[in-house]
């Protein structure tokens, strides 16, 4: 285990130091006093763990493919951009565009997320990306979603805070979103249909939530003791009739 004090360290130096340690076979690195450094853990393929204390900057873990990254705090925008594998655990909230075009791996967020989370998330072959969010989410949640799973729990929300914004799943053409609570028709994209959960859905959901709840010390039974809804695309080809030939 290695420890780096990131206070005032420019991101390039910080990332070089991380990569150097990993190249030497380091399996776990603790980064203290991180604030605003971008690109931490980008493109990592090593099976290693980064533990970040502080507020890392944008584009954390972009193009990631295997590492485990834990943030003990809030994250910013563009986390896990085009992630292919690995796990990201965020103990606070994050900004916009989390998991853009994510193709594999898992992201657990304890708190809230911003706009366009899971945009264009896709599943491919046996890869099924997963994002679980403890709090609420902004607009365009799962926009353009083409595969994978997103679970939105809406726990510990501020007063008056909606569980999710508008245009949920706009353009969605694959994957499934589970939301712990109700979503109004005006909140969803026209390509999306809402239903309740059947037995298989519940089993799947429990499978996903067990680890998550353990990670953040949520009571699984309590989390499950609520009405969930399921959002799916109406069609894999939502715009099949859009064009005149």
């Amino acid at each position: 285990m290695a420890v780096i004090d990131a206070q005032g360290v420019y991101y390039r130096e910080l990332n070089q130091e991380i990569k150097g340690l990993l190249a030497k076979g380091e399996k776990e690195i603790i980064l203290n006093n991180v604030n605003g450094q971008r690109y931490i853990g980008d493109g990592l393929t090593e099976q290693a763990k980064l533990i970040i204390d502080g507020t890392p900057g944008n584009d954390l873990a972009a193009f990631g493919n295997g590492a485990e990254i834990v943030i003990n705090g809030n994250g910013q925008d563009g986390i896990a951009n085009t992630m292919n594998g690995g796990q990201i655990i965020i103990h606070g909230s994050v900004g916009d565009t989390l998991g853009y075009s994510m193709r594999g791996g898992e992201i657990y967020v304890k708190g809230d997320v911003g706009y366009r989370v899971g945009i264009h998330m896709k599943g491919y072959q046996d890869q099924q990306p997963l994002i679980i969010i403890g709090g609420g989410a902004g607009d365009f949640f799962g926009e353009y979603m083409a595969g994978g799973r997103m679970i939105l729990l809406g726990l510990n929300r501020a007063e008056g805070q909606d569980i999710v914004g508008n245009y949920v799943g706009a353009g969605m053409h694959g994957g499934v979103i589970y939301i712990r609570g109700q979503v109004e028709d005006y909140q969803i994209g026209q390509e999306v249909k809402i239903s309740g959960l059947d037995e298989d859905d519940r089993k799947e959901l429990i499978g996903y939530l067990q680890d998550y709840c353990q990670e953040f010390d949520y009571d699984l039974e309590e989390v499950l003791d609520a009405e969930f809804c399921k959002l799916e695309p109406r069609s894999a080809r939502p715009y099949g009739n859009l064009y005149a030939y």
């Binding site: 245009y167 706009a170 353009g171």
Partner: protein, 500 residues
């Protein structure tokens, strides 16, 4: 007859291998071009009667028909073209005024085609209109300079506004010039889509009152069918001063088109000619226009915006400015390529100016005078596609009228023979057997499809510009660049040349 001109304009070619003698062409041709010849045991055609409306070509189930221009040629002469010669022959035979239908077909510059649109790259994102909101809603009507509240903090009511979900309206075409089913198609489509249908000067047929909230009722010089109920049936009133296809002249609906329904709707005797004077005889000056505008406002209790429609002529900017200060809520400008049911050919092809230049000039003038923010501007005169609309809005229009495009969506193939009353598509006709060819449900759906397609395209274009509400395009000439235009043209259009 001897010298009269009787060479067919078109030649009909029938692929006998494909013709199955089903006689659909025969049943569909109001000009009686096609017939089954019992002796020859096959279908034959009278080419001379063909107007090339494509009804037979379209309905032939085996695609056995081709209509070509008659390949017979005149001696080459860039000045005395065949068209010129034929016109003279026609007039030599009849002594009449050359008459034509639909818009100007001559090869004059189309400015829309010399204007290119912008798109976002990197510095701001284009917006995906399919998934993200994209707003085309438009309000037409007089707007105050600023929002106002009364002493109690209550919002003061705005002057009446027309709310359009898409900045497209169906331009004025009277019942009489077009069939009731064409009217119904347009009115229903307008209603379903949240647009406006314009009665033209033909009055409002009783079956169309149900679409009143989506209707602009027109008051033209002939005042056909204009009465209090009519004025209050629509959502707005339009004073028609001029029409792009025939600025400065009146109209003439021949008595044979004034059947029972037209008669009832226009409130004139059956079979009598419906003559529209060239001017309104209560408007000989701008203050008279103001008088009529306010007379209409009084009659409609100030609940309807009043539009004034003029043809784009040389001093259009000054006229528009006068109209704005005369109290009009909406100014509609119809360019010289605008359509018509019937117009003297020489006028249609030679009077007026292009709507693109007129629009740019009017928008500029109204802005200079600080009036543009108060009054709405609608343009028309051959809006052919969604890109034309985007360009018009960026040049400064609030909305457009489309008419020819709407008729084409109903089936019109631009044969330009509207004035014969034998429209095979059931559009420009009053003959019951032809009128029924346009099922208004089908017609409305086709128009709706067109507008839906266009609105998707407009949204795509807006999204590409990084704009998600139409008001951010309105007058936004930075989104336009010109090609193949002179400095003067660019100056009038208020746009830069591409590359600048």
């Amino acid at each position: 007859m001897g010298l009269d001109y009787n060479i067919p304009e078109f030649i009909i070619e029938r692929d006998q291998d494909r013709c199955i003698d089903c006689q659909v062409c025969q049943h569909q041709c109001a000009n009686q071009v096609h017939a089954y010849d019992q002796d020859l045991e096959k279908m034959v055609a009278q080419d001379i009667d063909c107007v090339n409306c494509h009804r037979c070509v379209t309905l032939c189930p085996t695609n056995a028909l081709i209509i070509r221009e008659n390949p017979s040629e005149y001696k080459k002469n860039k000045n005395w073209t065949g068209n010129m010669i034929e016109n003279i022959q026609k007039q030599a035979a009849t002594g009449g005024i050359l008459l034509t239908g639909m818009g100007n077909p001559t090869a004059k510059k189309i400015y829309w085609d010399h204007i290119l649109l912008n798109a976002s790259q990197v510095t701001n994102p284009s917006i995906d209109p399919l998934r993200e909101p994209m707003e085309l809603k438009t309000f037409l009507g007089r707007k105050p300079d600023q929002i106002e509240f009364d002493d109690n903090g209550e919002l003061k009511d705005l002057p009446p506004q027309l709310e359009l979900d898409i900045p497209i309206m169906f331009g004025a075409m009277s019942f009489g010039s077009i069939s009731i089913n064409a009217c119904k198609s347009l009115a229903k489509a307008a209603s379903d889509l949240g647009l406006m249908y314009n009665t033209g000067e033909g009055g409002l047929h009783q079956d169309l009152y149900q679409y009143g909230q989506r209707t602009i009722v027109q008051v033209a010089s002939g005042r056909f069918g204009v009465h209090n109920e009519y004025l209050n049936a629509g959502a707005a009133v339009e004073i028609k001063v001029g029409q792009g296809a025939k600025p400065g002249i009146g109209g003439h609906l021949p008595g044979e088109k004034v059947g029972a329904e037209v008669s009832k709707t226009r409130m004139i005797p059956k079979g009598s000619d419906a003559l529209s004077p060239a001017p309104h005889h209560d408007i000989y000056s701008i203050e008279d226009l103001r008088q009529l505008i306010y007379a209409l406002k009084e009659a409609t209790d100030y609940k309807k915006p009043v539009s004034v429609k003029i043809a784009a002529v040389h001093n259009v900017a000054a006229i528009a400015s006068g109209i704005a200060s005369a109290g009009a809520d909406i100014i509609a400008i119809d360019g010289y390529r605008g359509g018509t049911g019937a117009a003297p050919t020489m006028i249609r092809d030679n009077v007026g100016i292009p709507v693109e230049l007129a629009l740019a000039a009017v928008d500029d003038r109204l802005r200079q005078e600080g009036l543009r923010k108060n009054v709405s501007l609608v343009v028309s005169g051959s809006i052919r596609n969604s890109a034309d609309i985007v360009k018009a809005v960026a040049l400064g229009a609030d909305a457009v009228y489309i008419a020819s495009a709407a008729l084409i969506s109903l089936g019109c193939h631009m044969c330009q023979k509207c004035y014969t009353g034998k429209c095979n598509w059931g559009i420009a006709t009053q003959r019951p057997e032809l009128v029924k060819r346009l099922n208004p449900e089908v017609g409305a759906q086709r128009v709706k499809n067109l507008i839906t397609g266009w609105s998707h395209e407009i949204k795509e274009i807006l999204g590409g510009m990084g704009i998600n509400a139409l008001e951010s395009l309105r007058g936004n000439r930075l989104m336009l660049r010109g090609i193949d235009l002179t400095e003067k043209e660019l100056e009038i259009l208020g746009i830069k040349h591409a590359g600048k």
